[in-house]
């Protein structure tokens, strides 16, 4: 047994293996015996971290001693950081291992699920609920172990009678009772539902509904399920190419009535689990997954991958989700205390995209990505993909395009965001939809340097990117004070004002926009700061009224 680690002096910190809003996870070595550990450094100065919450998590993990749960090895404070030392699991998360493709071998699935069931049985017997069971939180080791991790949102029930009322978890893995939050809250059985989702995910590569719905819609779909058949139909269980036992196992996990849903102990005796219980080459099966992933990484030139979990951050995600909720424009709001999908920070691939944009793009995945796109190259299959030829265009250009390529991810992100906003706020016809898609594509194609024919030197002195120059001129033209043209025709000026109103965001004031001549604009533009802000409309109007108040105050001292 490894002794507790109580100070940083006992450790050697190696490479980073995971990162999130909370801080960073490193691989480390215990100096005394060269054993590997995972070091999670939590930045306590970060205002998202609540010491009491962290303490709860540590309490829960420190009370768990089971081979199927990542072992807690100690923790201490160094400066403003809390170091939590955990057992290092060297094979990566199940989520990572699914990247090369889903696992179709039922033996392997059964073995992994069995280990997780053992962990759940242990937790549940102690009144603990994991509450965020998903493939990212299942780690595998090269020696064939399977371990449950990330107890960031887990909870301790004070008795078997008590229940929890907070809604936490990650959408696609959440049980209906957790989402609905009625009947006095949820209990252990919520983990069983999530386990079913994991099993489904292993076989299909994605948790149920992720291919069909964005997170919020999925939540609504899950919560609508009243009969077992509703959900099973939704995920098309009967059409899945799996054994009878596996089907039955999934059906037992996806029982809507929590009293009827099997417990971990009962599921351990399910035929799907017992059938393969005594398979001898178990470590080999797990090992094969890890080797597969390594080969896949090599083929796809991925040098850096996360092999530790990224903890779920409730606070951040809640914000993100509510935002999305607003954008989707739904009829009803759920009280959110959710943690969410956590996409690993974008790996070093050609088109990293922000978690939010990739999440949004899930919706249109099928329609938006051109058929023969660079699947192999895209780390995130659900990210908006741009066709191969574009890449080739830019790749063909000389190295000066390097700068332009550096701007690419951000530019793609912006285009994605604009597109999705447009799409969610309006009902687009197919033609419009396609036109916008091609507009985005053209814009992206123009993300290259302008060619100067006349002067070679100028290329170095004055690198200009076509698309940006285009946009700049466009904006310049639109925002140009139309006073000059006003001499020619008043009609012309008016239409220019109209254009400005239509094109320029309201919270975006243009310097010298004195066209309107009247005091109206003079007043707004002169002393209002230029706010290229992320203010939403409410904030903006609040801000406006605040400015007005300030002005009044200024007038009457």
């Amino acid at each position: 047994m490894i002794d507790r680690i109580v100070s940083a002096e006992e450790l050697e910190v190696c490479e980073e293996v995971g990162r999130g809003g909370f801080g960073v996870v490193y691989r480390g070595l215990i100096k005394a015996n060269n054993k590997e550990v995972a070091i999670k450094q939590i930045d306590l100065e970060n205002d998202q971290t609540d010491i009491f919450e962290i303490n709860k998590e540590i309490q829960i993990i420190s009370e768990c001693r089971l081979d199927q749960i990542t072992r807690y090895l100690g923790c201490f404070v160094k400066h403003y950081k809390l170091w939590v030392i955990m057992e290092f699991v060297n094979g990566g998360s199940l989520w990572d291992l699914l990247k090369p493709g889903p696992i179709k071998d039922e033996r392997t699935i059964s073995l992994i699920i069995r280990e997780i069931l053992l962990a759940l049985e242990y937790l549940h017997s102690q009144g603990k609920i994991h509450r965020d069971l998903k493939s990212q939180n299942i780690l595998l080791s090269k020696s064939g172990e399977v371990k449950l991790t990330d107890f960031g949102v887990s909870t301790q029930l004070s008795s078997n009678f008590s229940r929890r009322n907070t809604t936490v978890g990650t959408p696609y893995w959440m049980a209906p009772e957790v989402i609905l939050n009625n009947n006095g809250g949820h209990s252990f059985k919520a983990d069983i539902w999530s386990l079913g989702c994991c099993a489904y995910e292993i076989f299909n590569g994605k948790p149920p509904l992720q291919n069909q719905y964005p997170p919020m819609k999925a939540l609504r779909q899950i919560s609508k399920c009243q009969q077992d058949q509703d959900f099973l139909g939704l995920i098309g269980l009967s059409g899945m190419d799996i054994s009878y036992q596996f089907k039955d196992f999934l059906a037992m996990c996806f029982v809507v009535d929590t009293r009827e849903r099997y417990s971990a102990t009962k599921l351990l005796n399910h035929k799907f689990i017992t059938k393969y219980k005594n398979v001898v080459d178990k470590p080999k099966l797990i090992k094969r997954l890890i080797t597969n992933k390594q080969l896949w990484d090599q083929e796809n030139h991925i040098t850096k991958s996360h092999n530790f979990y990224v903890p779920t951050e409730i606070a951040l995600n809640q914000k993100k989700w509510n935002q999305e909720e607003a954008e989707v424009g739904t009829e009803r709001t759920i009280q959110f205390d959710l943690s969410s999908i956590h996409y690993d920070s974008p790996p070093q691939t050609t088109y990293p995209s922000s978690p939010s944009s990739s999440k949004r793009s899930t919706t249109r995945e099928s329609s938006f990505s051109p058929p023969a796109s660079t699947v192999g190259d895209t780390e995130k299959p659900n990210a908006l993909e741009y066709p191969n030829e574009i890449k080739n265009v830019t790749n063909a250009s000389t190295k000066q395009d390097y700068v332009a390529n550096g701007l690419r991810p951000d530019f793609i992100r912006i285009l994605n965001k604009v597109f999705h906003k447009l799409e969610t706020k309006n009902t687009l016809t197919t033609e419009q939809y396609d036109n916008i898609v091609s507009l985005n594509r053209i814009l992206l194609e123009l993300l290259c340097f302008a060619q100067y024919t006349e002067n070679q030197e100028q290329i170095h002195a004055n690198k200009k990117i076509l698309v940006f120059q285009y946009l700049k001129y466009f904006l310049k033209e639109v925002t140009k004070s139309s006073s000059e043209s006003a001499y020619h025709a008043t009609l012309n000026a008016n239409s220019r004002v109209m254009l400005q109103r239509l094109i320029i965001p309201s919270n975006f004031s243009i310097q010298n926009r004195s066209v309107l001549g009247a005091a109206e604009t003079a007043f707004t533009t002169m002393d209002r700061p230029r706010t290229y802000s992320e203010f939403d409309e409410i904030e903006h109007s609040l801000f406006e009224s605040w400015i007005d108040k300030m002005k009044e105050k200024g007038k009457s001292p």
Binding site: L44, N55, I58, C75, F76, Q126, G127, S158, S159
Partner: protein, 338 residues
Amino acid sequence: MAFLFKRNPKTPQELVRALNESVSKLDVSSDNSKKYQDECTRFLTQVKVVLHGDDETDPQPDQISFLAQEIYATDCLYYLIANLKKLNFDSRKDVLIIFSTLLRRQIGSKSPTVDYLINSKPEIIQILIRGPESQEIGLICGQILRDCIKYEVINRFVISSPLFWNFFQYVHLPVFEIATDSFTTLHDLLTIHKKLVSEFLANNYDQFNTQINKLIQSNNYVTKRQSVRLLSELVLQRQNQLFLNRYFDDSNNLKIIMILLSDKSKNLQIEGFHIFKFFVAKPKKSQRVLDILAKNKDNFIEFFNTFDIQTFNDANLVDERDYILGEIQKLPEIERIN
């Protein structure tokens, strides 16, 4: 498998007696300790099943009542807590579950376990208070104790005990989770039963003030932050008026808080500000506090002009800062005081 104890003990009474016997044997011989540990584990699991039922069976009220009576009559809880360290790792958590379940048991308006703890075996509570002294059982004891002090009588018992002051030492323990767990207990002890606490703080002002100030001046960032947070919470309690009057008249406290304001940590600065504002806003300030404030008037003005609170995104905070700044500007010039 309606009841697990088909073999061995048949009734709840027998079960408790068997458990007691195994627990007592943990003490005696070390050779067979593993065997008795396992026995305890088994009996504890069975007790849990009687109390909670299992997948197939719901708990039976009459069985529970027999069990509880036997537990009180034989001081079973006492032996379990006293030997907690000798039980194996997972059994300790069963003790926690059993203890908590019994604690919540009510007969009419009475809580038999609470009565038992206060009237028959207060030693149990004393062992629990001293739990953090052992790394192995500190967390379990902490959780049980926090369950106990939800009952005002027990909370009163704990803060009246001289052992209560040990918590101010425990929060310094090098094992992080024990230290923070002790802090959680300390926090609960001083925030759950408001009236009780206001009485306590009024009667023990000096000792409490010395202790909390020591924590605020600790080198450990977490201890520092948690203790300032606790103080902030106490300060916001209207019931604690008597304590507050004394606290905010004490110029030494002001100094400690001013040091916090100049800490490198943003969070500590903000926490410090939330206490500092009361020194300034208090209508009748003591002369010594007033002197310090006036003497540092220019420093404060400069400090608050550069006080970076943007990152906290809190409109109230801005208002408060502006108000406090205004109040400071109204302070008399130093010459007039001298």
